[in-house]
């Protein structure tokens, strides 16, 4: 069974079209990530799925049933918000239990589910605290716990990690991945961070200005981007784009080469001088000013002694490069 089907979803605020004709399917148990720059409509799409906003046009189906006229609480979803949105007047325990109480579940059942969730998220010691007495990471876990206890058919996460510091973000990311494996639940996860998208997703949906640019597995999108936007958005450091003319290609086309596919050599189609070097330990990022090709980033694996100002040449495999036309569409062949 499919967890979610969106058909031709459109959403406008007044005259502003925020979502334009979105079609999408989420399979049962799938981890789908919506990724795109800020303001592209990811949260709006999530709120339409949750029923917090009405779509201007189109239908939403959850577990095979159309839910356009079903209120959020009855859609079989649970949502985790960027700002956590815990109820300030309730303890951790009551925050998690509230939705079940609203559903009039038997008390024993509520206690069992809260206990199970707090065991999974290691919240046992915090159950009697209020949100104000918790750290950011703990609040995030409570917010996730509040979603888990409902045993929803579909989890919705709206940038859940963006308020955490870098170390905690990585840990929580791994916890969320583990949670997905344990619960075998269908998850839609919104982020503007391509690393989160690549590491978590079974399927990535790249959005730009309310339009789906491409849908596919992380490696599909990395190896086979449909257009210049997707190519540039996924991968860090991001893909180099240069005028194809600079390496003897067709005028008007853009050539895309990932930083990790460039090699520093003595002779090559590109040459220039080093303007900056970043040593990350495992790899070294070298910024090269390459004449009419512009500024190019090279990601070299390992540690290299390269001086700023040194002249270098760059080489690459044509098979690992991408061609785009003037509108950014991919030219295959």
């Amino acid at each position: 069974m499919t967890a979610l089907v969106l058909r031709n979803i459109c959403k406008s605020f007044g005259k502003v079209e925020v979502l334009k004709h979105i079609d999408l399917t989420v399979e049962d148990g799938e981890f789908v990530v919506f990724v795109g720059p800020s303001g592209c409509g990811k949260s709006t799409l999530l709120r339409v799925i949750a029923g917090l906003e009405d779509a201007t046009d189109g239908t939403v189906e959850i577990s095979g049933k159309p839910v356009n006229d079903v209120p959020p609480a009855k859609r079989g979803i649970a949502m985790v918000f960027q700002s956590y949105a815990l109820y300030p007047h309730l303890t951790v325990h009551d925050n998690m239990a509230l939705a079940l109480k609203q559903e009039k579940q038997p008390k024993a059942q509520i206690e069992a589910r809260v206990a199970e969730a707090s065991r999974m998220l290691e919240l046992g010691d915090l159950l009697e605290r209020r949100p104000a007495e918790l750290s950011g990471g703990q609040r995030q876990r409570v917010a996730i716990g509040r979603a888990i206890v409902r045993e929803p058919q579909l989890f919705l996460f709206d940038e859940p990690l963006s308020n955490l510091d870098a170390a905690l973000r990585m840990n929580t990311r791994i916890e969320i991945a583990a949670l997905h494996r344990a619960l075998k639940a269908s998850i839609i996860y919104v982020t503007h961070d391509q690393t989160e998208a690549m590491t978590l997703a079974d399927k990535i949906v790249v959005l730009r200005d309310g339009v789906v640019e491409q849908v596919g597995s992380p490696m599909d999108l990395y190896n086979n981007p449909a257009n210049q936007f997707v190519a540039g958005f996924l991968g860090a450091p991001s893909m180099n784009f240069l005028a194809a003319e600079a390496v003897g290609g067709t005028s008007g086309q853009t050539l895309g080469i990932r930083p990790e596919h460039l090699r520093i050599t003595d002779t090559g189609p590109l040459s220039g001088s080093v303007t900056h070097v970043e040593w990350l330990g495992g790899d070294t990022n070298v910024l090269v000013e390459a004449g009419e090709a512009g500024r190019i980033t090279v990601r070299a694996f390992g540690q290299y002694d390269i001086e700023v100002g040194a002249p270098v040449a760059l080489d690459f495999d044509a098979a690992q490069s991408f061609h785009f036309d003037a509108d950014g569409a991919r030219i295959r062949g």
Binding site: P72, M79, F81, A85, Y87
Partner: protein, 279 residues
Amino acid sequence: MNKARRNPVNIAAAHGILILYTLIALFPVFVILINSFKTRKAIFRDPLALPDAESFSLIGYQTVLKQGDFFLYFQNSMIVTVASLFFVLLFGAMAAFALAEYRFKGNTLMGLYLALGIMIPIRIGTVAILEMMVSSGLVNTLTALILVYTAQGLPLAVFILSEFMRQVSDDLKNAGRIDGLSEYTIFFRLVLPLVKPAMATVAVFNMIPIWNDLWFPLILAPAEETKTLTLGSQVFIGQFVTDWNAVLSALSMAILPVMILYVIFSRQLIRGITSGAVK
């Protein structure tokens, strides 16, 4: 403020100005208080002197407590003020929530219409109000006063509260909706506690004008059993003779409840004014 930015001259000047202002503001209250404890002769001989063994007298308070039903007036004022505040806050907050939370046709227009009352004094409509009260049989009831004061307080309440409610996190309200809370529960349990400072501000700004009002009690409810404290105190001010002891004593006693209410609201009030934002 940290130490580096603290300048002793500035601090002294700021405190000096604030203390001076406090003295000026409190001086009339102080004069009323000391004179309420003096004999009539002493009041006129030296209004600024403190009561001493010779000039001390409780005659004013005795007159007030004997003549007229002072406690009834007091109770009337209390009922009118508290009930009006309650309705202003309740309806003001509800309207503000609707304006801030829901997108509907004419939302902005409705907000402007409700705010119009801030600029137009309600007393302009006194004649029409009196006619309405007469035809609905509400003259000489406290209900009449409560209705008028509620109407008078609502525009500012809606205006201030909707501004604050716009700042309450959407995520929190949406979390409540997903968990199956009704809009009423979201309003009363999630939103209202977060705008408490704004509510206190509105309460204090409304409370004092209602408590002190003479106009509407005189016109709408002058009967003995519905007199408010301010109106009741007027019996001591005559065309030819004024019982100053009684007037000053009545005024002194009238200050008390307002002060008590103010102390209750003041911490929230200060937060409301200084933060200007709720999280």
